[in-house]
Amino acid sequence: MSEHHVVPVKTYLTIFGALMVGTVLTVTVAKYNFGSLNVLIALTIASIKATLVILFFMHVYYSSKLTKVVIGAGIFWFAILIIMTITDYRVRQNWHIGLGTVEKPIAANEKQAAPQHSNSMPNGGH
């Protein structure tokens, strides 16, 4: 479907205003510590702002079904990436214990010399 629809300037300005309100809101709210809700609140506000940009600045409100399906699919796939990977990390919460003790990592030019290989035995391990 074509969009011969010209979005009125008033709409753009209203959306811009809303985005500014959202920005002020997210900064104000961030002054307070709601613990684990912090991220949720920030993401909610950001999502609303993004939705406004998508619907009106990017004209999706007036666009074809195909466009909407493409966007929906993208968001769905992004969600798969995050959610399914998180399922692994939710259970392995302590994967980082004992790590992060920063010794000097082996830099690329300081490898140990390649071990002498022997022809007589099958090599074990990588």
């Binding site: 979005v7 920005t23 510590n33 950001a46 995050i82 990390y89």
Partner: protein, 236 residues
């Protein structure tokens, strides 16, 4: 019965109608933006995992970033989205002068954003906070309690994790803005040649889609990177 279309200005030979060409271009740009979403998505995944693993480091690392500068950049970018949308509107209503004006303003706002970003980056480097292994050497909080760029020793490495995620995400975003700037220059040049009007303006619209996407990424980056530690300002 086929009829060879009389040469419609701007209609490529393999499309039957302008309608089809415009639809193809628009769908094509949206599909491209979906690939960009998945591209940035990998970094958002990385952010999610490391933030939930090192919450303190992220809080403090975020506290090290300048909210005023980040906020300014946010306003600048959202404003540039408005001017880009106004540019599309001007093209759709055939206002050549306004079109060029809005495109130039968008470009200037883009450059302003990049300028502020480079100030932020150079500040980090100066404070020995650039997180490559050889350059990360922050002043510790224990050594200099009053220094606003000092880092508590306990979370030094966690803050470093935050910082490289910050640099990767904002760096990739800035790269996309540079590409966007190039695109704007191309559009301005074509607009000056009078290529766009009420009937043919899809490059502006499609370019606008890209621009708004870059804005949306920042809309998420700002709170996630800059505001996570903002509450530390008051009574940490």
């Amino acid at each position: 019965m086929s009829e060879h279309a009389e040469h419609v200005p701007g209609l490529a030979h393999h499309f039957a109608t302008m309608e089809q060409q415009k639809e193809a271009g628009t769908v094509g740009m949206w599909v491209f933006l979906v690939t960009e979403l998945m591209f940035f998505g990998g970094l958002f995944l990385v952010y999610t995992i490391f933030r939930s693993t090192y919450p303190e480091g992220f809080e403090y690392g975020s506290f090290l970033l300048s909210v005023p500068l980040g906020l300014t950049n946010t306003v600048v970018l959202i404003l540039s989205s408005l001017t880009m949308a106004m540019g599309v509107h001007s093209a759709q209503t055939g206002k050549q002068g306004a079109l060029q004006f809005y495109l130039v303003v968008t470009l200037l706002l883009c450059l302003a954003f990049l300028g502020i970003k480079s100030i932020e980056y150079t500040t980090k480097v100066k404070d020995h906070l650039f997180p490559a292994y050889t350059t990360y050497n922050p002043v510790t909080k224990e050594a200099d309690p009053t220094n606003t760029h000092a880092v508590p020793t306990k979370i030094k490495s966690e803050v470093r994790t935050f910082l490289w995620i910050y640099f990767l995400m904002t760096g990739l975003h800035a790269f996309h803005m540079i590409v966007g700037a190039g695109m704007l220059v191309a559009l301005i040049w074509m607009a000056r040649k009078g290529r766009f009007n009420e009937h043919y303006n899809s490059p502006i619209e499609i370019g606008g889609l890209y621009w708004h996407f870059v804005d949306i990424v920042w809309i998420f980056l700002f709170p996630l990177l800059y505001l996570s530690g903002y509450h530390l300002n008051s009574g940490h």
